[in-house]
Each structure stands twice: as structure tokens, then as C-alpha cells.
């Protein structure tokens, strides 16, 4: 556990908390981007360079931009009159706290069985590419199909409908 890990963890958790708690939707989107960036750097800290850069490309490059577009298209930058939190916010908070308590308890109780420092895995992007078109080629094809279907589906769902007589 070094200083860099604590800094990145604080950045990620702070970004996540701000994304959930802030009032303005645009601020929430920016805080989400900060959390995504912190996670990407945590991936780099874990020697997973490919996943880290994929995280930056996909989440900061695509998902964050999509969220900003959705906020603009739904006029979400205006503050709602009756508060930003749901009527049943307390129940949700209790459920989330309970989930964190169970997960944290499980991690702390199993701490002694967890592995200590291990050697840095010698995995290059070349190995990942070979594995993607070798052992994992069928999931790769299915993901390609899924992404195509999702793109077409998102366009169809969000497309302007023809005016119907009411």
C-alpha cells in the first residue's frame, strides 16, 4: 500500500461521491469523469495497461460524452423544483450502507488468506491481441454483434417518431 494508491483511491471515491451527491447534473457528469479517470489510473497501477487505456477511451471518451449529450437533450441542467433525491432516499441509503458493510466485512475477515505482493505479470499487448483472436475469438465476435445491435437499437429508440393523430 503506497502513497500513489491512497491518492488514486481518494480521487476515485471522491469523484464517485460527488457524482452521486451534487445537485447540478452537469457537475455530476464532470465528477463521474473524474471517477472514471481515477479508475483508469488504478488499472495502470495494477499493471493492466491495456485495460487502463481502454477505460480512458471507452469511459472518458464515449460514455461521459454520451451522458453530457443526454443531459443537454433532456434539459437536465435545470434544477427540479421538488429536490434531487427520491422520496424513498433513506431506504436506498440503508441498503447501500448494508451492502458496503457486508462486502467490507467479507474482505477484512478474509484478509489473512489474500496473497501478498506478487511479481509483476509479464503480459504485453501482443499477448492480449493473440489471446483475443485465439482463445477468446468467439466472445469477441459476440461482443462485435452486441455493439452493432446496441448502436442500431439506440438510434432506433431515440429516433424521432412519426406524428400520430391523437
Amino acid at each position: 500500500m503506497n502513497l500513489v494508491f491512497y491518492l488514486l483511491a481518494a480521487l476515485t471515491i471522491g469523484g464517485g461521491l460527488a457524482a452521486v451527491l451534487l445537485k447540478h447534473l452537469v457537475h455530476c457528469a464532470l465528477a463521474t469523469t473524474v471517477a472514471f479517470a481515477g479508475l483508469a489510473m488504478l488499472f495502470l497501477q495494477l499493471d493492466a495497461q491495456f485495460a487502463g487505456f481502454a477505460q480512458i477511451l471507452v469511459y472518458i471518451g464515449a460514455v461521459a460524452i454520451l451522458i453530457v449529450f443526454a443531459i443537454l437533450l433532456t434539459r437536465g441542467s435545470e434544477l427540479p423544483k421538488d429536490g434531487v433525491f427520491s422520496r424513498s432516499w433513506f431506504v436506498g441509503l440503508v441498503i447501500a450502507a448494508g451492502v458496503f458493510a457486508v462486502l467490507g466485512w467479507a474482505v477484512l475477515e478474509s484478509m489473512r488468506a489474500l496473497p501478498q505482493q506478487t511479481a509483476v505479470p509479464a503480459v504485453t499487448v501482443h499477448d492480449i491481441g493473440i489471446a483475443l483472436v485465439g482463445r477468446y475469438v468467439l466472445p469477441l465476435e459476440i461482443v462485435a454483434l452486441l455493439l452493432t445491435a446496441a448502436t442500431i437499437g439506440a438510434v432506433i429508440v431515440a429516433m424521432h417518431e412519426k406524428e400520430r393523430p391523437r
Binding site: M1, F5, T12, I13, G16, L17, A19, V20, C28, T32, L39, L46, A48, F50, A51, A54, Q55, V58, Y59, A62, V63, L66, I67, A70, L73, T74, G76, P80, G83, V84, S86, R87, V91, G92, L93, I95, A96, V99, L103, G104, V107, L108, E109, M111, R112, L114, P115, Q116, T118, P121, I128, A131, P139, V143, L147, A149, T151, A154, V157, H160
Partner: protein, 111 residues
Amino acid sequence: MTGVTMGINSPLAGYLLVAALLFAIGLAGALVRRNAILVLIGIELMLNAANLNLIAFWRYGPHPEALTGMMFAIFSIAVAAAEAAVGLGLVIAIHRHTDTTDLDKMNRMKG
């Protein structure tokens, strides 16, 4: 509670705790907020926490050269991108229909 007195000495445990906290924050966001876009942001945070777990277990697992955790995380990122595109498209479509993104007001299934 021996873990607390020893302090967090296993690096994997630190990453797992960060992922658990991020998952709880995302869950709270999905359950507590009114706006549908914020609920989607919460779901994205939960997916990211799961990815962090996958990568951490890959890094500190016994066979990192098998690349299983890494591949799982990469495919999970791709599926999450598809989910975000369809989810935000749905939010925009519902906003066009009912002129609201408030989930408390979306209480009918008739168009």
C-alpha cells in the same frame, strides 16, 4: 476483527475495499436519485467497481499469464458501453414522450 488491528497490509485487500466502497456509492446513487440519467451514472459506477475487482484479482491471482480476469474486464467494458448507449437512448425517448426524466413521475407503462 483481526484485519483492522493489523492494518491493511495486503495490496489486494485495499483494491477490494475501494471497489466495495465505489459499488456502494453507485448503488446509493441508483437508489436515491430522482433523475434517470443519475441512476444510469450510478449503474456505471457499480460496473466500474466490478471491473476493478476483476483486474485486481487478475493482478494478484496465481496465474496472471492466463489473462482471464483481464479479458473479463475488457469484455465487461465493451458491454457497459453498449448498455450506456441503449440506456441513454431510452431516457431520451421517454423524455420526448412524457417531458420528464424524473423517475418518481414515470409511473405508467402506457405510451
